[in-house]
Homo-oligomer: 355 residues x 2
């Protein structure tokens, strides 16, 4: 493994006084990790440097052809003051799979883990300790070849940023309103939906803005082929409790394989629930809702962990779920996952990596 | 219209000695145009400055969510030494449509045109005059808000770069080999295919690399829904002459509406050809090829103008077109378009804007 050169900043930044006022992903820690790749040297020049601007050539591939991928994960501070990661190798491996889709190189897994550990250690004072807070970690990679011909870049910059983040729901978890999007498409089988690459998100912004103006928190995407099967929400996977069983869209290539999704399925199964991964049509959901069998709906994702959905709107019809209140399984899952993440519940599955 | 501040560079760069050795989009002129947008000030600070690196915050939206669009156009030097653009407002308007899809603001058309003119004028010595050469122009816009939450950025940077480019085919136009891609999908209806945004290109790289290794110049994309209808080639639209008539895929939302495509259709119709825009299935093409009726195939795009396709491969079958030679209509179209672009043929359609 390569050594990581560390250059500490002299002018330490001020840390947030009140974590409840910190906006998601807007406050950055003192340092960032950088590493370069090119086909000749491979990965090289691993370094932790003061967080700050990067000089970029305006002809760099990333600005024109969006050859860029990212990850989202967190470091949690436990009651004893220790700092831990939740299933970091899931993110590391997903980033490699994302890279494969858009012809970008993977980083060595151990090097990646070492970079995460070192960076969080250097900025350990930035890992907050208030209830529900954490250090959000954003690894990303961009194509840096300069040239306007469309091609796979030969050179890349890998970077890790970190942000202290408050509890996603400072006022407690309240169910959200979701609009099933029937115009714009986010991703399609054969495309890049399963990869965490920038283009998927650019494609999603217009519908989110439109839905936001109508009072919805997020949109629920439909598949791009038949516009019939539900896929996922903005930055969360989606789960339904129908007539006692748990359903979630199968990973068919256009849905992001969420780490929280995977972990939720494992926990739910351990707890004895039947969990079914399959294509789920809007019609099925509407039918279940009308028959009073749509018992719970929630989203899963690193940022908010588990988010109850209280209202689902399709075309002009709105279905209320559980009287707009958080359901039993949703709450249990939230407690189960956050319990492990913050070290309040014993980790019996080897999900935790401590620093 | 706002004034453009001009800051000339002192250390003028050396211009290419031999245009036939210049690689596409790798050599940049002395200056670039920059302009900023934010919702408070609108578009502001139009400036022409020395071409060079731009300091970017690593948390800028463009690196994570690919909120980025671009255009590709050219300035041509005529025999008299004048410099002219080919249908620049087509590019200006397409960029506005691209922006709408990914929630980015449009620039005032006249301001955009003024920026193009001024920038090319400042770097007029960079517009080459050798046969078939031109100044490639790359306007692009990137989201510069700093923050890791997915949202429509509030601030943007608009930039225009220019590159002297050689004749795309210094050894004369030779028909290329194209692979019909049946695995990866570039774009789908409802998605961003009709927009010139980075994500479409990132999605296309893997298939292009794979095809390149097998000896193909480009891939021909199929529609993302049925994987049955041909759409377009890497950076070109596609046209077929079948049994005397010209066919090209209709603009159904996932195909880029090329300026060269539009101009070709207009010229061909003026010349008396029947041009049909419709969904074209691979099966139809295979059938026509087998019946000896696939008379010509060519791509259209700003970079290479018109490119004859000599061989089309689908799954493991290859169809030769016109004995692998350039066809009559292809040649006529190439001559017609380039004639107008370089000012050798009279512009009777108001396509030319001179500086
Ligand atoms: C599109 C999308 N779906 C789902 C998720 C949830 O994935 P994870 O649980 O790994 O955070 C995310 C966020 O990471 C996402 O961006
Ligand atoms: C995907 C794609 N299709 C088609 C074209 C051709 O368009 P135009 O003729 O406007 O250059 C381009 C290039 O600009 C392109 O990138």
């Amino acid at each position: 493994m390569q050594d990581i050169r560390i250059e500490l900043r002299e002018d330490k930044r001020e840390k947030p006084q009140d974590m409840s006022k910190v906006k998601f992903g807007k406050t950055f820690s003192d340092h960032m990790f950088l590493m370069n790749y090119d086909s000749q040297k491979g990965w090289h020049d691993a370094r932790i440097v003061p967080h700050g601007p990067i000089p970029m050539d305006p002809g760099a591939m990333v600005f024109h052809y969006a050859q860029e991928i990212f990850e989202g994960m967190k470091a949690y501070r436990t009651e004893s003051g220790a700092i831990q990661f939740f299933r970091p190798f899931e993110n590391i491996r997903r980033m490699a799979r994302s890279g494969e889709r858009v012809s970008m190189p993977a980083m060595d897994e151990d090097m990646f883990m070492e970079a995460l550990k070192k960076l969080v250690e250097v900025d350990k004072e930035w890992v907050p300790s208030e209830e529900g807070t954490s250090l959000y970690i954003r690894p990303f990679m961009i194509a840096t070849d300069v040239g306007l011909g469309v091609h796979a870049s030969d050179s890349y910059l890998f970077c890790i940023l970190t942000c202290p983040v408050g509890s996603y729901y400072p006022e407690g978890i309240n169910p959200i309103k979701i609009l099933i999007e029937d115009q714009d498409v986010r991703a399609v089988r054969g495309g890049t939906g399963y990869a965490k690459c920038g283009g998927n998100y650019a494609a999603s912004i217009r519908a989110s803005v439109r839905a936001g103006k109508k009072g919805f928190s997020q949109v629920l995407w439909l598949d791009g082929v038949e516009r019939k099967y539900v896929e996922e929400v903005g930055a969360m996977n989606i789960m339904f409790k129908i007539d006692g069983k748990i359903y979630t869209p199968e990973l068919n290539g256009s849905v992001l394989p969420g780490v929280t999704r995977k972990s939720s399925i494992e926990l739910l199964k351990d707890w004895g629930y039947e969990v079914i991964e399959k294509l789920i049509s809007v019609d099925e959901l509407v039918e279940a809702a009308k028959a009073g069998k749509l018992e719970e709906v929630w989203g899963t994702g690193t940022a908010a962990v588990v988010t109850p959905v209280g209202w689902l709107t399709y075309k002009d019809e709105t279905f209320e779920v559980e009287g707009g209140k958080i359901g039993e399984v949703t709450q249990k899952l939230y407690d189960g996952l956050t319990g492990i993440q913050w070290g309040k519940v014993e980790d019996t599955r080897d999900w935790i990596v401590t620093i």
